[in-house]
Symmetry: C2
Subunit: 307 residues, 2 copies
Amino acid sequence: MILTVTLNPALDDTYEVPDVRFGEVNRVAAVHRRPGGKGVNVARVLHGLGHEVTAAGLAGGVAGRRIEEGLASLGVPASFTRTSGESRRTVTVVGAEVTVFNEPGPAVTGEEWAAFLGGYERLAGDAAVVVLSGSLPPGVPPDAYAELARRAPAPVILDADGEPLRLGLAGRPAVVKPNAGELARATGVRDPAAGIRLLRDAGAGAVVASLGADGVLAWTPDGLLRAALDRPETGNPTGSGDALAAGLAAGLAEGLPWPERLRNAVALAACSVRSPVAGEVDAGELPALLSRVAVRTEEGHAARSHE
Amino acid sequence: MILTVTLNPALDDTYEVPDVRFGEVNRVAAVHRRPGGKGVNVARVLHGLGHEVTAAGLAGGVAGRRIEEGLASLGVPASFTRTSGESRRTVTVVGAEVTVFNEPGPAVTGEEWAAFLGGYERLAGDAAVVVLSGSLPPGVPPDAYAELARRAPAPVILDADGEPLRLGLAGRPAVVKPNAGELARATGVRDPAAGIRLLRDAGAGAVVASLGADGVLAWTPDGLLRAALDRPETGNPTGSGDALAAGLAAGLAEGLPWPERLRNAVALAACSVRSPVAGEVDAGELPALLSRVAVRTEEGHAARSHE
């Protein structure tokens, strides 16, 4: 079983507004309301691909109940610890461009965090892989991801930003998956290869950096690898990082070699970009996308990043 | 008691996003969640000013319960007919500019509409003024406002758009309150004075057209009057039309002369623009705003529109 942890989940609304006009009143053509938050998206993608998964985290209020009901209606097993504060909502407006509005999360009490930790240890004991994703709501310790990684007997994939990512490295996660902005914010350097090296030195077993149109650059036991699509997909990028994390988790659980793991993950991310709704993929499109992914060793980068 | 009718209410979220960037991911600095929909905003403004009011309409699902709970927590008496479909939400993003996203409403059944009509007749019998505001959800007859106006013993203020406004005139409402766009859409003419005349010919007892920075142009038994602020207020225009309708309803209930009625309504609308949240006014700002409203007779326009 793959365990996903979402400490700051959200009720995600995707608004389809074909001719959106900012600064004006817009009629929403279609509304897609789904349980969200990065780890929840990872769980939905894995479940959609037929993997055994459990979505854990913190959830509160009406929005929290809707997140749990939404996962239940999708058939995704979930185990959330209730919080007194209400879970947040996010709104993604999909028109000619994609605009995302993320509400702040609810305040979490020490008792609620302690209650989550108890349940987490039981779940992590049964997991083949643990995926820790997204922001931390107020009240959760900033080093929460280090703590969760230490308590997990299984290998951990960490997908976070800023301080939660920097402090999380102390838990020695098996894989860290930053995008270009997260990598730069966490390391203070602009060159991806140099930033990747810094994350490994700080405790990451492997680092998979998603660089948009440049594909992913990954420092693995097989060396520095780059996996990229022949041409970028256009659509809704929201959730494509979560699909990438889902692909990495599946490959880790199945013990696939790194090149194949990266190929699957990149194809899955591209598949997600094609979907108007974050966290949804059409597995039927995967074979065609897999054939468009090239994976190669980056000797040059590897050498430079050793200097 | 002033009765407001909101057949397509909404759970209104106002997102404060100071440096909003469209086409990107935005963190929402503050969220204001309030019961909304035009008639609900009218009821909230009137209640805030100390008037006896009842908010009626259709409400369904979790959003519908939240609208009722929100009104209860604000102390606004409400009497909504439950629908099987869930009430809609709206999102207003307040940054350098104001962008509104309106979800479509839920489908209403014939039985639900009939149940509302029964309750409406009882409430309208006790009302000094009835305010009919906003769009009609799918399933409600397009001539619903004509029907509701005919069944009301009290004078009716109609604030609607398009077909519901055009067909509503057959119910001979005492006052119709279109903005410039609604006036043009309902009459097909661009000149406000000419459009106002057409609405009167079609059944409106009086017409108060809100023309933005030009203030309001009103055809009343006292002639064609214009009421305008010395300089326009800047802020969140969402809900200012509802505050204008609230001012007109209060003036009608109190039997104020038209010039005073318009002065109060224009000051109230300006007060609403200053609030970041639709449907809220700071009554303390009213005296200063009232002194900035000029009301005069528009002989020229009146003459021209008689040609």
